[in-house]
Symmetry: C2
């Protein structure tokens, strides 16, 4: 604790002094990869065959990612991605597969998921030119937009008929490019194996977004076709050489949404207006739910799912806000913006297109910012109105929730705010709730109409100039940068790497020993058993090699939707499974800070180890190993 | 990662919603303990016998703390407190006890530490009234101060003669009370056992102030008297019931220095002026040393100890600054200050004494703040001058260091600053260095004289009004609060408790499994072997009960100087050994934030386990267990 230690060994500061903020940044489309950067940093660039192989091994599922991992259509994804499907085929007692886990002893025991679908991205076609060609001389802007939309629709229809694939239009670079992505749809998906929820989500909601981590967040499904296991042309083989500190890593998956191309003023508006207000409402909600749960066990159960959701949102939004408040990071965002503006202003055409756009957005934001609190309040009140008007008696919990929403709005805007006065009309919250069964006060209706009108006009300015900036950016940088995430297939590259946090350097791997350490440290009952182990993991402990690498971290640039993405090595072989980001990755919505933003992954060695020694599933180990 | 998890179990937010900032605050003197607070929070208050017992079992050593842990004078402290002593009795090769550890096979093998001393606090006497009585009517302030000083000196001399103990005057509450503390001095101290540095400081400087932690930071000495093991009347027995999550804990030790009674303006001055400047200099130094080390192995060794020190300071100062920048915490400091000011202004006598003092300090700080950068520069330049004037040829490293200091001052003040111009006289750094062998430029000498004069005058205003505020505070709160730490014996109370960090809740304990997890995660070579295990710990791994609690955290309020403090339970029995604080404890210099400030301790179970199974020292286990 005091500075009394004489040095025997010296810890290296090289890492912290040298790490650039943007190393390994980017969620790249498969047609446009930063070959030079990869080559110069890692001495490696993937071939077209390599790229085709990992793309055709990848799968899209609702809200996330997966991949083929055997010749017989075995599919690997996260447990939290398979969660709803596992729940769907579960029932009470021993068939509660979330609680007890599930292993199909043979293929006949694999359980079909009702309604389950997955997609493979077979082909991508850039149709920008074809779509733009629909614009004829003399068309005004509305006509031009309509013509392009019609052309794209026709292309999608034509391709769907021709290829028999699911064809989806994709807009990249905020309008800079238009593509059609063609998918093969898989409709017979069966559950093969799932660990217990308690080990898949060890640490529960507390550990969400944290590192070091000890989550066995995987599940196995199998895709069938015509009643037989589907045999994909491409699947990821288990890497014979496991992953090590410093190794290059790739994720292949479907990041959902980033906002990195917002202007600085837009980010500041989120930082100063929408985020703090949203967080205050969320905070009130979590406290309300907390109080509700304190009433007893039944009430605790009643709100448990909702609390999980609110807590996750609260963590995400808090992380977003922290990112927006990071002065150093935001200075880099500002610098990138000035650079682009200078380039735009240096080119007469671009200047005419977007030279004024940043200022126009900034001005429009003044109106938006001044109205954000009211707009959020209107939306909250709108939900109360909808709930009441749906008719029927409100349950005690529903009633308490609506009253809590009314109170929140009053607190947030203040009792003397005209909108509050128009809505409540001097009545108590209870009386207001009762009155909502009838018509809304006319003054309130007029007020929100005026408000929405003003708000919508400002937003349309922002939207128009956002597109102009996007076009200008694309004209300047083209495909030397990557487009914001849109839920479509992307490749990111990086490496296994530590980061500074919590006063030290974070360990690059965890092991099963760390899992048992934390379970022992907390004990099975503390903090509502968040770090309790399933019985099978207690019984089988001494059978395991405790030092098997379990989770690991990489610099890959991912975001929500990448859950379930395979992590592959230079050989395109499977080494890990992405399942989360660290808490420092949350600002990744706005910018990538390579010094601390980390992808969290399950090490394939851990999956193999426990399939054999905990789940008595040597047949799955064999299948993964391609034997 | 996405918000898709449905809740099966619900994690409790009660903790975060309910934790007060000031719970368990205080480094209390033994004559004045918060009995009511302890009783109401924990249902326990120590008896006088309990207090005497733990006090007389405690030991003071240079810069830290220790305790008697057997009837035969066995002493337990941190490895990092014993570090210099262990080094002193080490030699090259197998007798490098820092590298290989040391176990005395029997008492005859225990090694005497040249110059080693420790102290037991036998008696404390409040002499405030006797000292104040020396002030006679008609004395002016200077005469009064002198009279009190003389009276105190006489009392110390008289008591030293009478008791044969080491008597030391102690000023508490910044002058509110004067005590004489009487110590028994122990001068024959022998090394009994020390683990290897690599396990005592596992994680090296990286892990300093971090949690979760895996440090075996203990060492054992024995106090001898007349050539025989000393038999203390009081020593701490090993608790038969080990410590558990939530248990009440006490530390008994010698916290060195806190600044919690500074005014808000003083803290702000540190935040805005002295700390940032100091940090920039430290940052330059670490970069300079880093560059120096890059030259080769010899250069790396040459600067290794210095780098350790700089890195520790950098971490401490960064933590201090983060604390001062914490808006929420500082608002509470401001609130406490307003409360005190209101109380002072409500009392005519106190108002006359200190009503203006906060404003006077604030005004004087304007001068100080405006001169801080120059004063720091003058002190840096002063060190260069001293080094050069010491004569003899500078080594290449010394020369580079001095040049780096000169450059730092130029960068910090700017080349056109009058002080820089006076000092450098337009010469290069090299020429300036050469010229320093002669006299300093007269203009520079005059400038620093004027500067020092101005600075000293402002400081004396701050000092005078600081004492007035201290007196007023003592008049208002008396001993219902605790005095700032002064290196004298204090008791703190608290409990084993988690805290929120890193996106989750921190585990209250670690185990040996966590140690091996991290060693395996990093591997023996990465990051300059910071998490490498000594050979003995690799060989004996499978002999250990891996789930033995190893380190743990408590809410006890401690600071530098508490290193080596025993942690005892309600029975006054030994459960742990304090060795560090978490990174969130660093602002503890200014205020205590009970929500996140944690003491880090070695669990006695870990010490017993490894003495038996790693160090083949069953005789020490027996002795600790009182058998």
């Amino acid at each position: 604790m005091p500075s009394l230690r004489t040095a025997l060994r010296l810890t290296s500061l090289a890492l912290l002094l040298s790490l650039p903020m943007r190393a390994d940044e980017g969620m790249w489309t498969f047609d446009n990869l930063p070959m030079k950067a990869m080559k110069s940093t890692y001495g490696f660039e993937p071939t077209q065959a390599w790229l085709d192989h990992v793309r055709l091994s990848a799968l899209r599922m609702s809200g996330g990612s997966a991949s083929f991992v055997s010749a017989d259509g075995l599919v690997l994804t996260n447990h939290h991605m398979g969660h709803d499907w596992i729940q769907k085929v579960s029932s009470q007692g021993e068939h509660d597969y979330l609680k007890h886990g599930f292993v199909a002893a043979n293929r006949g025991k694999e359980i079909k998921i009702p309604g389950g679908v997955m997609f493979t991205l077979m082909e991508m076609e850039n149709v920008t030119a074809q779509v733009e060609a629909a614009v004829k001389a003399g068309m005004n802007e509305t006509q031009a937009a309509q013509a392009k939309q019609d052309a794209l629709k026709r292309l999608v229809e034509e391709q769907t008929q021709r290829t028999g694939l699911v064809c989806e239009p994709v807009s990249l670079y905020r309008g800079g490019q238009t593509w059609i992505y063609r998918y093969k749809k898989h409709e017979d998906i069966r559950l093969v194996m799932a660990p217990e929820y308690d080990i898949a989500a060890f640490g529960k909601d507390w550990d969400n977004f944290s590192w070091p981590r000890h989550d066995l967040d995987f599940s196995l499904f199998r895709i069938y076709e015509n009643g037989k296991p589907y045999r994909p042309k491409h699947f990821l083989k288990l890497a014979p050489k496991p992953v090590a500190y410093g190794d290059m890593t790739f994720t292949v998956g479907h990041p959902g949404l980033t906002s990195r191309l917002l202007t600085l003023a837009q980010m500041q508006a989120e930082r100063d207006f929408s985020k703090p207000i949203t967080l205050r409402y969320l905070d009130r909600q979590r406290k309300f739910l907390h109080q509700w749960a304190l009433q007893g066990e039944a009430q605790t159960l009643e709100v448990s799912a909702q609390r999980m959701g609110i807590e996750n949102s609260f963590k995400v939004q808090t992380g977003d806000l922290a990112g927006l408040k990071d002065a150093e990071a935001m200075a880099k965002v500002a610098q990138a913006e000035s650079e682009l503006r200078a380039k735009v202003n240096a080119d007469p055409t671009l200047k005419a297109l977007a030279g004024e756009s940043w200022t126009r957005i900034e001005e429009a934001l003044k109106t938006v910012n001044a109205r954000t609190a009211e707009m959020i309040a209107v939306s909250r009140l709108g939900r109360v109105v909808t709930t009441v008007k749906r008719g029927g008696e409100l349950s005690p919990f529903q009633r308490a929730t609506q009253l809590s929403s009314l109170r929140a709005v009053r607190e947030e805007l203040g009792g003397t705010h005209p909108l509050v006065q128009d809505f409540f009309q001097g009545r108590s919250d209870e009386a207001t709730l009762e009155a909502l069964k009838g018509d809304l006060p006319e003054t309130y209706q007029k007020r929100i109409q005026a408000l929405s009108q003003e708000y919508r006009e400002a937003q349309s300015v922002i939207s128009e100039h956002g597109v102009r900036i996007a076009k200008a950016r694309f004209a300047v940088y083209g495909t030397s940068t990557y487009p914001d995430a849109t839920g479509t297939l992307r490749l990111s590259y990086g490496k296994v790497e530590t980061y500074p946090a919590n006063g030290t350097l974070m360990q690059p791997f965890t092991t099963f020993a760390g899992l048992y350490d934390r379970a022992a440290a907390w004990g099975p009952k503390i903090e509502e058993a968040s770090w309790a182990l399933p019985p099978r993991w207690v019984k089988r402990r001494d059978k395991l090699n405790l030092y098997t690498p379990y989770n690991f971290i990489t610099t890959n640039d991912i975001t929500g939707g990448n859950s379930g993405s395979p992590i592959v090595d230079r050989n395109g072989e499977l080494i890990g499974l992405a399942f989360d980001g660290n808490i420092e990755s949350l600002p990744g919505r706005y910018y990538f800070d390579g010094r601390v933003n980390r992808t969290l992954a399950v090490d394939l060695r851990a999956i193999v180890e426990c399939l054999g020694k905990v789940y008595d599933a040597p047949h799955l180990v064999k299948e993964l190993k391609g034997k």
